[in-house]
Assembly symmetry: C2
Homo-oligomer: 471 residues x 2
């Protein structure tokens, strides 16, 4: 048994989530609980908690799949035109054929145009790779950094807290993680002095090769300022690091402005505009929330020619990403334009999703900040809140007795008393002695309101009980 | 750079296929060639060469995706009923939500029932994993066998010739391959004495952990007899090998009967019915040919409980396979039944695809066996012919001069003169001093006829030229 596989774990689908599955079954069997349903806010799984699919996207998928719909009057003409263009770019005119391993050509062209429009700088189809989700895409590129003859012990810098799939993949590949902590007291921003210290320490035990940045942050919800991005680029240049820019939540931005790493790299000019970078984006989040379709894209930027060739060879062994996930990406990068029949409904649906998220982002943060012992940074982007909880000493002692981490104990109690499923902060990493949990802001406004009410009363009882606890 | 990645290659999408892409562009630019189109028989990519999608499957996908179709009179009621059942099993009622990492529950139940019906033995939903293609599924299980503390140097037996993704994955994972040759002179059957010799040799340099069997064979097209399967199971038991049964082409069987490894294991009784096995099946081949959707399933059988737990943890890090690929699997394992509105068209379409393949299987083999220097075993299953060619000495000398393998030289010449894209036998492995190539039998009958005519005249000229060649 491969040890790297054995020790790997993925907190988001860990014990709390498994216990929630059991409870759901117990409820179905009629067992008495202090609640009558499970509220899942552990996964960024938009449709699972009621987000409505974008009609235009679903019509495009259905038409590409069942081409009789090209003749149907119920499908708008702009959808049909797009479907025809995509099908022409599929070998044999069918989404049932393999695409090239980088993806359907015309969709990659649309992605390049979309990025050009976003950044105001050229993007090249040859640099676009369609993939089955960001995790999948990250894994394929990371493989290039695994230990080899020319580097016995590679390391990759990752933020703490961070999306646990990054840690899991590094563990699986036997690559050293070099943690850098986001500064909670300054809105989860980057502290460059700390990064410099961390890489210095790391050089004593490994060879740093790359850095992962998540912007907007998951689970932390911050948006990096342009200045922060510039600092990080300069740092990566000096330390010769490949930049993995997880920009998955670029459409989930509230009040602030998103800058892509590539845009900033280009605008910093020489030598930074020659640096290597990979940027990730997906159909799973944003306003579409199509997690199940497994559609994502990567833009690789300035990748070394020889490495790129090997990268493409590696992609070939996975044949291709699911074509319908690719079509979902097309819907995002080539949306209805003003004057087209799908435009009004599309804008209405998109605005509704993003507008609601903005309301919910504020609602959740405000609520949490009103609880004793809670401190939650404002949510500038992404779909999660990650509040800090100061746990009463009694709770710490109880957790120790039960031999589980205090944040896990808190989240377990929360689940058993209210049915709310969260992820303990230890799953993402947190500074020692601090405790957090992650919740999504995805459920509909009224469900979220109900959840916050349950949460508040649980928290009050928990605090009362464990403040009194005999310590 | 990871060396295992650097040396990995995937012949099917290798240099010949890349040259075909270039030629296609040259043709578009108006360059003169001895042919006016490329005929791709290198990839088992059914729809790419004109196979028509199964209407029932596409309607089911479209309805699950665009649920307004549940109200449409153009979708048959049995499709709608199935779509509703699937959607009920999706969290939030949407294919846009993540499924569990093993797949949508109701589809896994349908798979188990389907296997029960096929084999006449119990199958359990808990043992079914839906995955994004067989290669993907194989990789995840193989990870469990990577070098670890308890086994420094694992090895896996693989057939030669074999589907090159197996070799590529072993290389990538740094697992030793233990080749066993299929006996071409006896219809590519298994020679058990040879397998015993090979594992004996292998034990001097690695620790054999598993064996891969491809049945029906790719690229070789044989179907293992029940006796052959029994022998292999006994051998695997004695040598304590996990069996990977690639049974992807179980629906593509001509004249003979397919037996699953699991069925034979159970019917052999103790101790064989306790052996560990994983069987793979997919929506990409069979009569559906939906390669682009990335839908497949695995049945794991008797997997060690502790290992299974780690396996499921590993699956969690990939979130889930594409839900629409999962729906394609449902269409296969839960097809229209007699009396249902979709039944007649479904049977008609399915029969047509499988009937044509049977005709083409014979047509290709007969044609090849009529050429000088060709010897092609009958095609009992799968979608490929893999004839042996005795190349004239002049061709061998020419290839040597060009520093390429003789079979590659032959396939390159074939491409440049006729536009036919095949895969050289060296990509799959072949006994030293023998030369082969693989062609699919997928193009429509009339295209295949045209191809065989072109092939014959090329082969005649090639033989005449290189028999005369000054050696």
């Amino acid at each position: 048994m491969n040890q790297n596989v054995r020790i790997m774990d993925y907190a988001i689908r860990g014990t709390i989530s498994e216990r929630a599955d059991e409870i759901e079954k117990e409820l179905l069997k009629g067992e008495k609980k202090p609640f009558n349903k499970i509220i899942r806010v552990n996964l960024g799984d938009c449709h699972a908690v009621g987000q409505i699919p974008i009609t235009f996207l679903r019509q495009l998928l259905a038409t590409c799949t069942y081409t009789e719909l090209l003749k149907s009057s119920s499908i708008p003409s702009d959808v049909k035109e797009r479907a025809k263009i995509i099908l022409q770019s599929c070998t044999g005119g069918s989404v049932g054929s393999y695409s090239t391993s980088s993806g359907i050509d015309v969709i990659r062209q649309h992605v390049a145009k979309y990025i050009e429009k976003r950044d105001g700088h050229r993007a090249y189809t040859d640099n676009i790779i369609l993939c089955a989700g960001v995790a999948e895409g990250f894994k394929t590129i990371l493989k290039l950094f695994k230990a080899g003859v020319d580097c016995k012990n590679p390391g990759v810098m990752i933020p703490v807290p961070q999306f646990p799939l990054y840690t899991a993949t590094l563990t699986e590949y036997g690559i050293s993680r070099i943690p850098y902590f986001l500064k909670e007291s300054n809105f989860w921003s980057l502290d460059m002095d700390h990064l410099k210290d961390q890489i210095k320490i790391a050089r004593s035990y490994c060879f740093p090769r790359a850095i992962v940045v998540i912007n907007p942050g998951n689970p932390t919800g911050q948006l990096l300022t342009r200045e922060n991005i510039e600092d990080l680029i300069r740092f990566a240049y000096k330390e010769r690091l490949f930049i993995f820019a997880d920009e998955l939540y670029q459409d989930n931005v509230y009040d602030s402005k998103f800058f892509s790493f590539k845009k900033v790299m280009i605008e910093l000019g020489e030598p930074y505009n020659k640096m290597e970078c990979a940027s990730f984006m997906s159909a799973s989040k944003g306003y579409t929330g199509e997690c199940g379709l497994r559609g994502a894209y990567i833009e690789v930027f300035n990748m070394d020619t020889e490495v790129k060739e090997i990268y493409k060879k590696l992609l070939n062994t996975s044949l291709c990403s699911p074509t319908l996930g690719q079509v979902a990406i097309d819907a995002i990068v080539n949306p209805p334009q003003k004057g087209e029949p799908s435009y009004d409904l599309f804008i209405q649906e998109k605005t509704k999703v993003l507008g609601d998220l903005k309301i919910k982002a504020k609602m959740v943060v405000d609520a949490f900040n009103s609880y004793d012992g809670f401190k939650c940074n404002p949510l500038q982007g992404a779909l999660y809140a990650f509040p800090k909880i100061t746990l009463p000493p009694g709770a710490l002692k109880k957790a120790e007795k039960k031999k589980i981490l205090p944040d896990v104990y808190y989240c377990k109690k929360l689940l058993e008393k209210t049915g709310i499923v969260t992820v303990p902060g230890s799953g993402f990493g947190q500074e020692e002695g601090t405790y957090h949990f992650r919740t999504t802001i995805l459920p509909p406004v009224e469900v979220l309101q109900e959840m916050l009410k349950l949460f508040q009363s649980f928290h009050k009882q928990f605090f009362e009980r464990y403040s009194k606890y005999d310590i």
